[in-house]
Amino acid sequence: MRIPRFLLVRLASIIPVLVGVTFLSFIVARVMVPNAARAWAGLITNAAVIHQLTVEYHLNDPLWQQYGYYMYDIVTGNWGLSPSTKLPVLYEIENYFPATVELVIVASILSILFATVFGVYAAVKHDTKADHAIRLTYLSGIATPPFLAALVASIVFTHLIRVFPSGGELSPGLVAPRITGMVILDTLITGKFGLFANALYHIILPASVLAFLGYGIGARVLRASMIESLNQDYIRTARSKGLAESRVIWSHAFRNSLTTATTVLALNVSALLGGTLVVEYIFSWPGIGSFAVNSILNYDFPSVIGTTLVYAIGVVLANLVADVLYTYLDPRVRL
């Protein structure tokens, strides 16, 4: 009974954030731009086109009225026309978004795995050589610019030793049935296991690169939280009861660090989403990350604004999921 009510309250709290997010995107799209009509036209400099855009988006009206039109367009799904592909921005985003969701989910799973293993191990071996080595590894993940990780991974694993394909979601020529747009899921639902294996094979490298860039924050927080947990009295009690050390670590200390870990999960998704831009671009992954990069490179401003909005909505939803998980894991929150 309690959880649904909590969910409703939490869902309602998203609305002001989303209003704020769209307002900020309006500021960027209409106020910060020196000449909105020209920016909206991209590389097209035809005066007639620019005039048409000015009329269509009411760019000569007072700003508060423009905001009304802007919000109306956002809500009704008119996110503008991409000047470089000539397609509606929202259509493009719907097309590219599932691939990014898929990549981020796989990368999240991998990064949680890395963070748990490394964070817990470093905490157990606190202040030993193993601890320091692990800290160096995850700090180097945080310190690596995304293009370095992606480029090195692609030279080493697709050129020097050809164990992974160089990019894309599937090998050239293969087409997956489109239901959700997430190739792994779609091939699994339709029972095409050959394609499924091919899709998995393609996602491993980009997802691992993303996870390498992002797991550090999680590992660091888990390590700190585990060190704290392991110093608690109940751990001493558990040990003195003669419980196996692995039981003490996983079902006593780790269980209590899980709530911290879920908070980090949400932070991580934001970092992972930021990383998708460069990583998707370098691995030619057909998601909104490479769509955003190509839009920037083609001066396609409507698409840049559209993808920015989608990224923010993604982070807000990820936070919601983390919050719900948090409530589920820590009953104290519900009180």
Binding site: V21, V28, P34, H132, S140, A143, P145, N231, L277, T307
Partner: protein
């Protein structure tokens, strides 16, 4: 006037001294001290390049030497050459001032703006505090890189605009930290006493809040410069930062990645340089975090 000036300088000196005492306790942590060493080295290099660059290592960015295009690393060209035969080592060295000072400037501005807004929100409470928290919530909804890209794209591609975009994105994090630190001060007796006795708000903020809040922000900021450098280099990589012929690490990686199969050194050396610097900041930051995080301190 002079009295106020003296008070401000004294308060500034106190802040720097406490920030310095945090930094100097890093001596007990060799790994973090190494990180600090790398950073100091690069900032010294940046100054040397700015002041004496052309005397020490002459560099002509328009030099085209097609006889040596995409030459591998050698003694004459430690980082190899690009597709026009231009020395990549020099390009990387001449990019040091921009890539070291721009993130520093961004973090300093974010820190000052964040400290001001965060402290005032915590001190005032009520609607000012509520408003600030909602604003930072909105900023936190965007991945920092994505919002910075959109703003930089809106303003137009240039180093100044990339800087401005990152400043706009970065201050809310500092406002949140400053607010958190300042909230704890509200309940301190000396602050309550000052409020009751009618000391002006501005004076309470200047004498009690700032000196207590800023050292923690400065320690946090030290590590943060590395994160900002990564974002700035990604902006540069996507063409929203330095423009040709100004050398910038991220941009060199972008032009170089097309040649990666014939000349791996072209994108890799500038990218590794970013990694080395950011790693320096990370190591330093990790040490600082341990010193500042009371939970970890108690376990030692």
């Amino acid at each position: 006037m002079s009295q106020r000036l003296r008070r401000t300088t004294t308060s500034l000196m106190v802040q720097f001294r406490s920030a310095f005492s945090i930094l100097s306790s890093l001596r007990t942590k060799p790994v973090s001290a190494t990180g600090a060493g790398v950073i100091v080295f690069f900032y010294l290099l940046a100054v040397v390049v700015l002041l004496f660059g052309q005397y020490v290592l002459p560099f002509n960015d328009r030099a085209i030497d097609l006889a040596h295009e995409l030459a591998p690393p050698s003694l004459a060209h430690p980082f190899g050459t690009d597709q026009l035969g231009s020395d990549l080592f020099r390009q990387v060295v001449y990019a040091i001032p921009i890539d070291m000072f721009v993130p520093l400037a961004i973090v300093i501005v974010a820190l000052i703006v964040g400290a001001l807004i965060g402290t005032i929100a915590a001190f005032r409470g009520g609607w000012a505090d509520e408003l600030l928290m909602r604003i930072t919530d909105i900023f936190r909804a965007f991945p920092g890189l994505v919002l910075a890209l959109a703003i930089a794209a809106a303003l137009g591609a240039s180093i100044a605009n990339a800087m401005l975009a990152l400043m706009v994105v970065w201050w809310p994090a500092y406002a949140r930290i400053a607010r958190g630190e300042a909230l704890a001060l509200n309940s301190k007796d000396y602050v309550k006493f000052s409020k009751i006795t009618g000391v002006s708000q501005r004076r309470i903020i200047l004498t009690h809040f700032f000196p207590n809040v800023t050292p923690i922000l400065i320690a946090y900021a030290t590590a943060d410069i590395g994160t900002v450098l990564v974002l700035f280099s990604v902006l540069g990589y996507l063409g929203l930062g330095a423009q040709v012929p100004v050398p910038e690490w991220g941009r060199i990686v972008f032009t170089g990645q097309d040649f990666i199969q014939q000349a791996w050194w072209y994108p890799i050396f500038p990218a590794v340089t970013i990694f080395v610097v950011v790693m320096g900041f990370s190591l330093l930051g990790d040490g600082l975090r341990d010193l500042l995080d009371p939970r970890l301190k108690s376990t030692r």
